[in-house]
């Protein structure tokens, strides 16, 4: 890719924003433009998730944009956090647009909660019924009480635990190594919902089981707010002397049974075949050992060990040793989710995952490490490598 991310904007993260998703989207977009040093009328492209409620038309109307030359959605939600950036970049490289804003607004705590089954089921003739054709909560899984993403993650977690023969204590300590390390990062992060709450490994071990084998601290935080980022060509980013971070590679990779919930993917303990990483690293001309910091979409903590192994940062089955020895910590071999992740900063459908990679490469992270390159993924379904400009 020959594009750069030159602006980040967001509202505060909260449990109750007190305002509409449209209003939140506007605040985030204006903040991202200000960060980029651009005007509203510079926007000529928009990308978003199909799951976002704020349409491109609503944005054009609300901002009174004189014209929009390109707009497009990527399917689902966080699955495509990097896919949306790839799409924006492709539109720019194809000459369809020159300044694309990727935005996401959701009242995911005060509004429709993604972690609850109420959004899936309706009542019909005295029964609770599903009308969904695809997971989560589809007609083939809802009758067994499988309704929300967090339950799917427990299925991957158990498959992994048993494949590598981890005892319950070993498994607990592995994921505790994710949750506790990320909370410590969040304690330094003024944007984090849980900045003021500490978490020890003992606290983690005592956490309530939600869906076994996952505990309450393994789950992300339903969050209200909005985020936006501005993407332009690398050439334009250089010409305007922006705070640019370069998109070295970005792409999508799905396969039968994978998205949106990986219920029918053959390897329940892995979420991306080796080829996904080979394609991504090949595009960037880099290998996993060249990556300085990783931001891994952690709807649950289990996404971290799986992604580390799927992309070859560590060998298969090595996550327990890596995560219980601080490999993901500030002085570890690969600091991971240095904002606190979706577990402790807030669940922002991957935009905050990308934003932290951008901040690391700008030198603006609350937990700054020496980073020239950053890796981002959501289960391999969409992934990206960013580089310091």
């Amino acid at each position: 890719m020959k594009t750069s991310i030159i602006g980040l904007g967001q509202t505060e993260f909260s449990k109750n924003s007190g305002r509409s998703e449209l209003r939140l989207a506007m605040e985030a977009i204006l903040a991202a433009l200000a960060d980029a040093g651009l005007e509203v009328n510079d926007i000529d492209g928009l990308v978003r998730y199909t799951w976002d409620n704020t349409s491109e038309a609503a944005v054009v109307n609300a901002l009174g944009l004189p014209s929009l030359k390109y707009y497009g959605e990527t399917e689902f939600g966080g699955v495509n956090c990097c896919g949306a950036v790839a799409q924006a970049s492709a539109a720019i490289e194809a000459g369809l647009a020159s300044c694309v804003v990727f935005y996401r607004a959701l009242n995911a705590r005060s509004g429709v909660r993604l972690g609850r089954g109420e959004r899936i089921l309706t009542e019909q003739n005295g029964h609770w019924v599903s009308n969904e054709g695809e997971p989560p909560g589809d007609i083939y899984s809802a009758p067994f009480g499988l309704l929300v993403p967090g339950q799917h993650h427990a299925l991957y977690a158990m498959a992994y635990k048993e494949r590598y023969g981890l005892t319950s204590d070993q498994f607990t300590d592995m994921l505790g190594g994710v949750a506790v390390t990320q909370r410590t990062y969040a304690n330094n992060n003024p944007r984090a919902l849980l900045q003021d709450k500490t978490l020890t490994l003992d606290d983690y071990r005592a956490g309530r089981i939600i869906t076994e084998p996952l505990r309450v601290y393994d789950y992300c935080l339903e969050t209200d707010g909005a985020m936006a980022m501005v993407i332009v060509s690398r050439e334009r980013a250089r010409a305007m002397n922006a705070k640019a971070v370069d998109v070295l590679a970005a792409g999508q990779y799905i396969f039968p049974g994978s998205v949106p919930m990986y219920l029918y993917a053959k390897r329940a303990w892995s979420l991306a075949p080796e080829e996904a990483g080979e394609v991504l690293f090949g595009k960037a001309g880099l290998s996993p050992k060249d990556i300085d910091v990783a931001q891994i979409y952690d709807a649950t903590s289990m996404m971290v060990p799986i992604a580390l192994e799927d992309f070859g940062f560590i060998g298969r089955g090595e996550a327990h040793d890596f995560l219980t020895s601080g490999g993901n910590g500030p002085t570890g071999a690969l600091p991971v989710n240095t904002h606190g992740g979706l577990l402790s900063e807030g669940y922002f459908h991957g935009l905050n995952t990308i934003a932290e990679a951008v901040r690391q490469l700008r030198g603006e992270s609350p937990n700054q490490v020496a980073a020239e390159t950053a890796f981002i993924t959501l289960r391999g379904a969409s992934s990206m490598i960013l580089g310091r400009a």
Partner: protein, 134 residues
């Protein structure tokens, strides 16, 4: 006993109609013989539209399981804890399943399971998979 079910309009589909009559049938290809799930109008192996239904052997292995201890919907409040499973059928397809309410089981990934169709009323039944001989 009530469970969540597909909306009425789905219950007229062959998959659910076969279950309501007491057997698990899989959508299969009449040309290459492969089975697939969820049901689809085209065979994902040979891309033939000549698909049909055949009874499943009912033999499967456990690919994973999870135990829901937190209720995510009011209708599940009196069901927790309950077990959700992923099962790999002998025919090469994956199904989401579970363990019938009240059955005590000791599960481990890779164990052999067999299908047990549980009837809820004359229109609706579910394919559970239980340890062989349980």
């Amino acid at each position: 006993m009530t469970v969540i079910r597909p909306a009425d309009r789905y219950l007229d589909q062959p998959y659910w109609q076969h279950l309501a009559k007491g057997t698990l049938h899989l959508n299969c290809c009449n040309d290459c013989g492969g089975a697939h799930h969820p049901p689809s109008p085209i065979c994902p192996t040979c891309r033939s539209f000549n698909t049909g239904w055949k009874p499943a052997s009912g033999k499967a292995t456990l690919a994973s399981y999870a135990i829901a201890r937190h209720s995510v919907h009011p209708s599940l409040g009196d069901k927790v804890p309950y077990i959700i499973t992923l099962v790999d059928l002998e025919e090469g397809v994956r199904l989401v399943s579970g363990i019938p309410e009240g059955m005590e089981v000791d599960l481990h990934v890779g164990m052999a399971l067999e299908c047990k169709v549980v009837q809820f009323d004359d229109r609706f039944a579910l394919p559970y998979f239980v340890p062989v001989g349980a």
